[in-house]
């Protein structure tokens, strides 16, 4: 495996292997000295064309714990408005000898283009491309689900687990990546969203879909419910009438939380709009695994970098 561009590129075996490696990385992260020499001498570039302190920091910590040299290359705004093209940026990094490039870009397919254009030799990790994919988010979500819901996590998949993804499916790279990866791992994925934000092409790939969160909760006993962030630009584009109506119909609040099974885990990729897609009662409940998702992000990203860049060397 050279690149990680799409969660759909991972086979069941590859996905389970990464998740299992992440368990080992989690042990490293609990040590006093949280460091492995695995990527010593390798250069990893964080190439971020969008603001995302969380994801960038998570990758930076992951690469540093594997002893890679990390360069943060933040180019705010699109390549078009900046003047320098993605091609020139990529070739500059190539000239500097980047072994791996972690790219976040507002254009769907940007990571794919970087990997297939011939501009650059190194491994490419897609850290979010437009409204397309965010495969490491899906991996950390799968890791968290397995960690919380499987007694013997190592080697296991997610067969039979029922997962709801709720919110702006249409514009969510988290939803696209999760839909593919969770299906690969055997989970049953349900999509819940207003009709304006639930494209038929994606609904067809899910086990089922609902326009009503209440109906979904009443009909399916979910093991995990994943709330998506509502982006501010959706609020003025008539996808739904108002924030209040959205919160009333599709928000996860304390009252709906009470109707879930006691063991159902509540997830959110962050950052949350508290009071909109999720309220404080749900976000801070014992069902919430939102902070575990953040912690697991580092372990999973270490595992991804290890699989792409370490060339199969042993973990100490």
């Amino acid at each position: 495996m050279k690149h990680l561009l799409s969660a759909g590129d991972l086979s069941l075996e590859q996905a389970v292997a990464i998740l299992d490696t992440a368990i080992q990385m989690e042990q490293v992260n609990k040590r006093e000295i949280k460091k492995l020499p695995t990527l010593r001498g390798k250069t990893v570039v964080n190439l971020f064309f969008e603001d995302s302190t969380r994801t960038r920091t998570s990758f930076e910590v992951a690469a540093k714990r594997l002893s890679a040299d990390v360069i943060n290359f933040t180019a705010k705004g699109s390549s078009v408005s900046k003047g320098e093209s993605l091609k020139d940026t990529a070739q500059t990094l190539e000239a500097m000898g980047a072994d791996g490039v972690i790219i976040r870009h507002p254009a769907s397919g940007a990571a794919h283009t970087l990997a297939t254009s011939g501009w650059i030799e190194g491994s490419i990790v897609n850290a979010g491309d437009g409204t397309h994919e965010h495969p490491t988010q899906a991996l950390l979500d799968a890791y968290t689900i397995r960690q919380k819901l499987r007694d013997n996590a190592i080697g296991s998949d997610l067969a039979g687990l029922k997962v709801a993804i709720v919110g702006d499916i249409a514009h969510s790279r988290v939803a696209r990546s999760n839909l593919q990866l969770l299906k690969t791992l055997g989970a049953e994925v349900y999509l819940v969203a207003p009709a304006t934000l639930l494209p038929g092409g994606l609904a067809a790939q899910a086990k089922g879909h609902y326009y009503s969160l209440d109906k979904a909760i009443s009909e399916i006993e979910f093991d995990a419910i994943m709330m998506l962030r509502v982006q501010s630009e959706r609020m003025t584009a008539s996808f739904f009438p108002s924030e209040r109506e959205y919160a009333r119909i599709w928000g996860l609040n304390g009252e709906r939380l009470a109707r879930l099974r006691p063991k159902t885990i509540v997830m959110h990729p962050g950052p949350m709009n508290r009071g909109l897609e999720i309220d404080a009662k749900a976000a801070d409940s014992k069902n919430s695994v939102i902070l575990a998702q953040v912690a697991n992000g580092v372990s999973v990203r270490m595992a991804v970098l290890y699989h792409l860049l370490a060339g199969g060397s042993e973990i100490e």
């Binding site: 091609k87 507002p106 254009a107």
Partner: protein
Amino acid sequence: MSNFTLIGATLADGSKANIAVKDGLIVSIGTETSGDSIDASGLVALPGFVDLHTHLREPGFEQSETVKTGSQAAAKGGYTAVHAMANTHPVADTAGVVEQVKALGDEAGYVQVQPIGAVTVGLDGKQLAELGAMADSKAQVRVFSDDGKCVHDPLLMRRALSYVKNFGGVIAQHAQEPRLTENSQMHEGAVSTELGLAGWPAVAEESIIARDVLLAEAAGSRIHICHLSTAGSVEIVRWAKARGIKVTAEVTPHHLLLTDELARSYDPVFKVNPPLRTQKDVTALREALIDGTIDIVATDHAPHPDESKDCEWNAAAFGMLGLETAASIAQSVLIDSGLSNWARFVEVMSSAPAAISGIPGQGRPLAVGEPANIALIDQSAKRVIHGGGASKSDNQPYEGMTLPGAVVHTIFRGAFTVRDGKLVERG
């Protein structure tokens, strides 16, 4: 060489004849010869092709194409006339610009370059351009289009349709409802949602076509629909024609062959407006071209330099090359499919586009006394497409594909512009 005879050419009806050319005209068709003899056995002789939709990019975007390089690409594709779209810089919205484009075409001398005028000032959709001045200019403009943009204001469209009746003109509409296609990147459907690229829904084209055929009916005017791309659009045009509305429609070669599945590569060479649609649409467009619902093949040849295509999809420009491959795709759809014939090929590639535009001396039958505008093609050739050909740009969507047929000679006003597949120096 002002006097020569094409020996043993196959005509559109399948018969074989010698075609003698002298001083720019066809002087005999039959067994006679005069002047130099040129072996044309095995070649199909057809009236020179006429493209109603070409982006020559000059003035303003000479890094993409010039009138000369675009004319050369056209000649290599068997064309003897092209209609140059108005979205240049400055926009072809005045008599001065259209006369400049025509003069550049005359100077290049490869094809007849007929400028299209903008409908609105600066393609801005706000105020009618001086259509009368362009019609009366040396360029004699009869086709007007804001192509690249839709004339979306219904009142302005109504006025434009009516106003061009003053001089027998026609509005060529780029049918795209702007609000339904904000930031659109590709056809809206299963593939776009999977790829996370913003969709360009079929209804954005169909709703404008439906509106405009009704406006044309109300105004008693002609309307031409550019690059029709969906099965639904075909149904609307079919309905409008049955109702007696004076509508004509074009389809591009790429919409007859390629689908939105190609966007999975994220290779922007497949980014085009209107976007590549689904196989169901391709099938409907092919049927409509054969049954006459769609009148013509028009290339929408849209050259772009590497810097506009060697980038991420969203940053890339819309458009693809088409002049040197159009005849091959038309042959594939009409002839090699076994579903139609060379007579229909001549209509869609030459006589019908010339008739829509009213361009003089083009789209005429191969007959004694007619201008010698002739394309000779080797129907049995197979070509592996590589690179941009004579065009200044390389945005070649058919790279690596094998297409049937090859243009061997092109004769424009009695002189070779292409001979044995190679450009002849002109001017």
